[in-house]
């Protein structure tokens, strides 16, 4: 953790009264929450509830209408570049280049994050070994399966050892085994001190998070540990918690 994050009292993300409006439509309506350093935080909600809008603001890609957002100890509105250097991002839409090889992708993103070639080489070797992708180093990315691409995209998103990694529906459409291998990658990253901020439509995955927030129509309708949410909602599963909150009738 760097000095700025320590000043923030160990919180990786701190959001106060965040509002985002598009014309008369309020996409984010006074969001308040914080995410502890090293936490795996699940950011859930129905399609159109405002999750992607909030993530874009947290990553410094979009400005809030009002409110205050601190990421990795920096005010995102004032120091977006400081924030961008300390975060990783992986979108639901695949973010690597299909017409580059596996290694070329790693080198490109490593260079974008300002890593030296020797560091890129070293981390690339380590990453390919971990993923058991060494043989595929010079293969065009487009020839890999979606599951492998997503695992690689995650490794690339944390190549520069960010303080926080944002994962926007990383497991959509991925097979059940790969989905679980992906979560092991997440656990491993969290174990190494990276804060994980993740959205998903698989509610069993909500159970793998330390805390979960559920957005309904631009607002955070619930935020707690999966266990507490189930108890509060007198629900058997996170699926039931989610259904009760998003379709109260």
């Amino acid at each position: 953790m760097d000095a700025a994050a320590q000043r923030a009292g160990g919180a990786a993300i701190r959001v106060e009264d965040l509002v985002k409006r598009f014309g008369s439509f309020t996409a984010n309506d006074r969001l308040n929450f914080s995410v502890a350093s090293g936490e795996i935080f699940g950011f859930l909600g129905a399609n159109g509830a405002g999750k992607t809008t909030a993530i874009k603001i947290l990553c410094g890609l979009s400005a809030p209408t009002s409110g205050r957002v601190e990421v990795a100890g920096y005010d995102v509105a004032r120091y977006p570049e400081q924030v961008k250097r300390r975060i990783g991002y992986m979108s639901q839409h695949f973010s690597l280049y299909n017409d580059l090889t596996v290694y070329e992708n790693i080198r490109l993103f490593g260079a974008i994050y300002g890593l030296s070639l020797s560091v890129i080489r070293e981390r690339s070797d380590q990453l390919l070994r971990r993923l058991d992708l060494k043989e595929q180093r010079n293969r065009l990315l487009g020839t890999l399966s979606l599951g492998w691409k997503q695992k690689l995209a995650f490794s690339v998103a944390i190549l520069h050892r960010p303080h926080i990694v944002f994962l926007d529906e990383p497991t959509s459409g991925v097979d059940p085994i790969t989905r679980r291998q992906f979560w092991e990658q997440i656990y491993q990253a969290a174990n190494e001190g990276i804060t994980v901020f993740v959205t998903t439509h698989y509610l069993d995955e909500a159970e793998y998070c330390q805390r979960v927030s559920i957005m309904v129509e631009g607002r955070i309708a619930a935020l707690d540990t999966p266990k507490a949410l189930k108890e509060q909602g007198r629900s058997e599963s996170m699926n039931e918690v989610f259904l009760k909150l998003t379709r109260p009738n």
Binding site: G45, A46, N47, G48, Q92, S145, L146, G147, E169, S172, G173, V174, D175, P176, I177, T178, R180, W183, E184, Y187, Q188, A190, N191, H201, Y202, L203, D204, E207, Y208, P226, K227, S237, M238, N239, F242, L243, T246, R247
Partner: protein, 307 residues
């Protein structure tokens, strides 16, 4: 018989996309095709729909040969591809009218069939299709696929990336369409949806691993499953995997599902192994596998991978 496939294969250059597929789908059945990206689901669907030539083997859809009788076949089938494929610059209403007229019918003639779906987007009927939300696009695509009252509806991953609530609403709609007598063939990566099908086929790398009802998949599976909890999941996964007799370990909601070979008595000692590995609060309980456990086990056997 709505679909009958015998020894179907299809290759693209060096890649074998489908290898010796044989199965049948009865009229009125809700039939699920499950499998990871690249398993060959879309290739299979496109051959059934006459959009792609088979390599070898026999295919019959509604008694017709998709190669010889393609024009007759296309009147009988409705298709919703995985990617939104309607005209984004036509309005909701215009898209529906267009697809109806292509099939020589009108939206009014089959309104009763699409009513349930279409009513939800009707307030936006003047809006260009490209300006709809994901959920609304999906409902429009379904309406257009149904507008000529097909005997067979083919849906390629209609719920991928869709939230849990909208998914369950979509499946409620499929049940209603089934009640109209329409045969439904649906591909999905969601194993919980498999349980809602009459029968399911599991595909991997161009081959069929199994075709059975969800109940049979679970009943016929040979293996011993335990639910494990009581510790940080990452550490607990590693500790379970370090126990030699364990076949596979997968996180499953708030528990880990640990599989042993059938009749492996060593399973009883898992809890002692975990306690001696520092997980003093470990809880191990025998569980019945669910369909996702069974499919993962079948897929893993194919992959020969541990965990």
């Amino acid at each position: 018989m709505m679909i009958s496939v015998h020894e179907l294969s299809k290759g693209y250059g060096d890649i074998q996309a489908l290898e010796g597929l044989s199965f049948e789908v009865q009229g009125g059945e809700l039939f699920g095709v499950l499998g990871p990206d690249g398993a060959g689901k879309s290739t299979l669907f496109r051959i059934l729909l006459s959009l792609l030539l088979p390599g070898s083997g026999t295919v019959r859809v509604g008694g017709l040969d998709p190669v010889r009788d393609l024009h007759a076949l296309r009147k009988k089938v409705g298709y919703m591809p995985g990617k939104f494929a309607l005209y984004e610059d036509l309005s909701v209403e215009e898209n529906l009218q267009f697809f109806a007229s292509v099939f020589g019918t009108t939206p009014a003639a089959n309104y009763e069939l699409i009513k349930e779906v279409y009513q939800q987007i009707e307030p936006f009927k003047k809006r260009p299709a490209g300006k709809l939300s994901g959920g609304m696009k999906q409902k429009l695509a379904l309406s257009c696929a149904l507008i000529h009252r097909p005997e067979l509806l083919v849906l390629d991953e209609p719920t991928t990336g869709v939230d849990a609530v909208s998914r369950s609403e979509f499946w409620a709609l499929l049940k209603k369409l089934k009640a109209h007598g329409i045969t439904i063939l649906v591909a999905t990566p969601y194993m919980d949806e498999a349980a809602l099908c009459d029968r399911v086929a599991l595909m991997q790398k161009g081959r069929l691993l199994t075709v059975a009802s969800p109940g049979e998949v679970v009943r016929d599976f040979e293996g011993l499953f335990y639910g494990v909890s009581g510790g940080h999941p990452y550490g607990l996964i590693q500790a379970c995997r370090a126990f030699e007799p364990v076949v596979s370990v997968f996180p499953f909601g708030e528990e880990l599902h640990v599989r042993f070979n059938r009749d492996d008595e060593a399973a009883e000692h898992l809890v002692d192994h975990l306690k001696s590995s520092g997980f003093s609060g470990a809880v191990v309980r025998p569980i019945a596998p669910n369909i996702e456990d069974c499919f993962m086990a079948l897929m893993a056997t194919e992959n020969d991978l541990k965990g």
